[in-house]
């Protein structure tokens, strides 16, 4: 047990990330259910107005920083070294450090409940609501310090993964041979490294304002409140790509496997991911159309925002083309991946709607935006993460999840999610504002809010089903055969699938590195360092010139590097 606390093995750190993120995810989910209960009927008194403010703030902050980001980190940690043939990450101890800083940051943020002053200013913490004058308690202090701590964790791990991916690829693993998931991981790490400094500086300004009487967000002293909004959203918009791109990577692995076809236009999928990351830095002010920046800035950011839909649409069409004409196996992972393609498209389309300033001025701060962001974050990120969970579960645990229960879970989650959030488009369109703790009975919001609350409990049921499935699998699930490469079992066109981990030994018995796991007695296998790639294509041709992507497979090399 204590070896889990001192572990520096990337697989174990990955599992720790996943389990911890799931705990925080349940916490954030409970907060969401309380929010929905309060809004289920007009004039309800489930929670007070103050508690409601704290709930939506903590729900947002928890889901972004303590659930989805660390879920992604779990897959980065577990899968990336395996997928590129590295023995571990570049800095194993630093990796453990970033996990533990994340844990402390998460506990610190939630300790605000114990202190009786949970943050209640929204996850974006707009100035000057966060000033000492308007938030005299420690609520904002908890929020800003824990965000600073979590930022350190993300930064350390991002640097670690950039070095790992660029510098620890096995011989033969050229950049364009890397699986799309690894590519998306790389893009995300660059986004973290470049997007976190502005929020760090913004939080430092806020800290100086609150503790030392500086004037950064003090209008009376000549300060400009837009400064916070700019600093926050320069971080905040790349942040949404930090949340979604790993899911895009997972889907790009899952769909080809179960369509038994190579990923259509794989290099284009990679380029479009890089382009999304690049454009992601040029669109932040579309969160601020209502702030009054003037026609030139509005037009520029509106055009940039519409442009970013192009690489995103490219991905959607590539996924559809991958499925087209494939020999599809309708596994649970495929259900979730296809679910992402459909639901993210809905969320993406409503996103293009608010890219237009005149439309946005009608929709901003309404439930329409709430519907949009949940379609991209649940329908996008969470569905992608579930696809990854079902896809890689056998690799990680050596056991299978129940496929029938998995499909039930998918349909419960899918139905619950759409019931909860589709009506919110309508609620927003008829004028229901965000962040209100209740509404009048004659406002016409009551019926669809009730529907939405019922849907939220459907989502909760879907999550419970997953927990039940995971529990059953760990207790008595069917073990995987051999390498744990459950999904490569296609009899035909074996090499054309994309599960590049399939020829690596399954993990539970054979750690890929790290002292703690080797010490458990099983003889360590030849390290992946000794694996090279063999390509069925002539060595001169780029691996994607043919029809197969990726066209390499792992092979044991008789030679060992260094």
């Amino acid at each position: 047990m204590s070896s889990w606390i001192t572990t520096v093995d990337h697989k174990r750190v990955g599992i720790l990330y996943g389990v911890t993120a799931f705990a925080f995810f349940l916490l954030g989910g409970l907060e969401a259910l309380l929010i929905r209960l309060q809004l289920a009927s007009p004039g309800a008194h489930v929670v007070s107005a103050e508690a409601y403010n704290a709930l939506f703030t903590m729900h947002g902050t928890t889901m972004v920083f303590l659930a989805i980001m660390p879920f992604n980190a779990a897959f980065f940690n577990y899968m990336v070294p395996l997928l590129i043939g590295a023995r571990d990450v570049a800095f194993p101890r630093l990796n453990a450090l970033s996990y533990w800083i994340f844990v402390f940051g998460g506990i610190f943020l939630n300790a605000s409940f114990l202190a009786g002053t949970p943050p209640d200013v929204g996850w974006f913490g707009y100035a000057n609501l966060t000033s000492k004058q308007f938030s005299p308690s420690h609520s904002v202090d908890f929020w800003l310090l824990s965000l600073q701590v979590l930022g350190v964790s993300s930064m350390i791990s991002a640097i670690n993964f950039i070095v790992t991916i660029l510098n620890m690829r096995a011989p033969g693993m050229t950049l364009m041979r890397m699986p799309v998931f690894v590519w998306m991981t790389l893009v995300v790490q660059f986004l973290i490294v470049l997007a976190f400094p502005p929020i760090t500086v913004g939080l430092i300004f806020l800290l100086f304002d609150r503790y030392f009487g500086a004037h950064f967000f003090d209008v009376a002293a000549g300060g400009d409140l837009h400064l916070w909004q700019h600093l926050f959203w320069i971080f905040g918009h790349p942040e949404v790509y930090i949340l979604i791109l790993p899911a895009f990577g997972i889907v790009s692995e899952v769909l080809p496997t179960f369509a038994r076809k190579p990923l259509f236009g794989a290099p284009v999928v990679i380029y479009s991911g890089v382009l999304i990351g690049f454009f992601g830095f040029g669109v932040w002010s579309h969160h601020m159309f209502a702030a009054g920046m003037g026609p030139v800035a509005d037009a520029a950011f509106s055009i940039a925002t519409m442009l970013i839909a192009i690489p995103t649409g490219v991905k959607i069409f590539n996924w559809l083309a991958t499925l087209w004409g494939g020999t599809i196996r309708t596994t649970t992972a495929l259900h979730f991946a296809v679910g992402l393609v459909g639901l993210f498209t809905i969320g993406g389309l409503s996103g293009i709607m608010h890219a237009s300033p005149p439309v946005d001025l009608q929709q901003t701060d309404s439930y329409f935006v709430v519907a949009h962001l949940h379609y991209v974050l649940i329908g996008g990120s969470l569905f992608g993460l579930f696809a990854g969970a079902y896809y890689w579960w056998p690799k990680i645990t050596g056991r299978l999840l129940d496929e029938r229960l998995g499909k039930v879970q998918f349909w419960v989650l899918f139905a619950g999610f759409n019931t909860a959030f589709f009506p919110q488009h309508y609620l927003g369109a008829i004028g229901m504002p965000r962040r209100i703790y209740t509404y009048a009975a004659d406002a016409g919001f009551a019926f669809w809010n009730l529907v939405s609350t019922v849907g939220a409990f459907g989502i909760a049921l879907g999550i419970l089903l997953f927990m039940g499935n995971a529990w059953r699998s760990l207790r008595a699930g069917a073990p995987t055969r051999g390498t744990g490469a459950r999904w490569s079992g296609g009899r035909r066109r074996r090499r054309r699938h994309t599960t590049s981990t399939r020829s690596l030994p399954s993990s539970p018995a054979t750690p890929s590195g790290g002292r703690n796991m080797v010490a458990r007695g099983s003889p360590p296998p030849a390290p992946p360092r000794a694996t090279i790639f063999t390509s069925p294509h002539p060595p001169t041709g780029p691996s994607w010139s043919g029809s197969a992507w990726p066209s390499w497979r792992w092979a044991r090399s008789p030679i060992s590097r260094s």
């Binding site: 023995r87 570049a90 800095f91 194993p92 101890r93 630093l94 453990a96 450090l97 533990w100 800083i101 402390f104 506990i107 610190f108 300790a111 114990l114 202190a115 009786g116 002053t117 420690h138 701590v149 930064m155 991002a158 640097i159 950039i162 070095v163 660029l166 510098n167 620890m168 690829r169 096995a170 011989p171 693993m173 490294v193 470049l194 997007a195 976190f196 400094p197 502005p198 760090t200 500086v201 913004g202 430092i204 300004f205 100086f208 030392f212 009487g213 500086a214 004037h215 950064f216 009376a220 002293a221 000549g222 300060g223 400009d224 400064l227 600093l231 320069i234 590195g513 002292r515 260094s562």
Partner: protein, 225 residues
């Protein structure tokens, strides 16, 4: 309230401890874990060198944001003193020259370590740190002087932006000085040989970066009227 304060304090202390211990264990990782010894990867670069370059990329955005804020708030203060009334360009030119020269010493230090010249390595490493300390001395004098003249963090927007920007730069110099003194101690104990030149190189990259940032700050804050 008391519980909240205690939780607050305990977590801050625990977090600090974890960070310090983690940082030290990272520093020792290379020595203790033979499996981690091979740090040169597929780019033919040392992991630590790639890591510091990525970190410096991030630092560009960090200082870029600070400088952008200073420029955006320039001339927006509702009360004095104004920058041109208080900034002492000749004095800061001397400290800027001192910091620039420290980069030269840094290069000499790296060259000395690379050819295993222990005596010179020791001299130049300490010299670089010493020049950094001189710069910090100038900054301490400047800050004290400004506060006596009435320019504080709380005085006006210029005070807020100026002290946070140059103060965070000073913090970076301080970290660099501590880093260099650590290397100097390693050298005194005979633990800085040719094979460890990468450690000096990484510290040097950081030091040169901090130096370059100061050139930007000196130009944009002091020289531009």
């Amino acid at each position: 309230m008391a519980v909240g304060a205690l939780t607050h304090l305990a977590i801050v202390i625990a977090g600090t401890l974890v960070t310090v211990v983690g940082a030290f264990r990272l520093a020792l990782e290379h020595h203790r874990t033979p499996a981690h010894e091979h740090q040169v990867g597929s780019l033919d670069l040392d992991h630590r060198k790639v890591a510091i370059w990525v970190f410096l990329g991030s630092e560009c955005f960090f200082f870029g944001t600070l400088i952008a804020t200073y420029l955006a708030y320039k001339g927006k203060s509702v009360v004095g003193p104004e920058p041109h009334q208080i900034l002492d360009i000749p004095l800061t030119t001397i400290s800027t020259f001192d910091l620039l020269m420290s980069s030269l010493l840094m290069v000499l230090a790296l060259a000395a370590v690379q050819r295993d010249d222990r005596r010179q390595a020791r001299l130049w490493l300490f010299g670089t740190a010493f020049f950094g300390l001189i710069f910090l001395g100038f900054q301490a004098y400047e800050f004290t002087h400004f506060v006596r003249e009435g320019l504080t963090l709380q005085r006006n927007l210029f005070g807020s932006t100026f002290f946070v920007l140059t103060g965070l730069h000073g913090a970076h110099v301080t970290i660099g000085v501590v880093w260099l003194l650590c290397l100097w101690l390693l050298d005194l104990r005979g633990n800085l040989r040719v094979t460890d030149a990468i450690k000096v190189e990484v510290a040097g990259l950081y030091w040169h970066f901090v130096d370059i940032v100061w050139i930007a700050i000196f130009t944009l804050v002091y020289l531009i009227p």
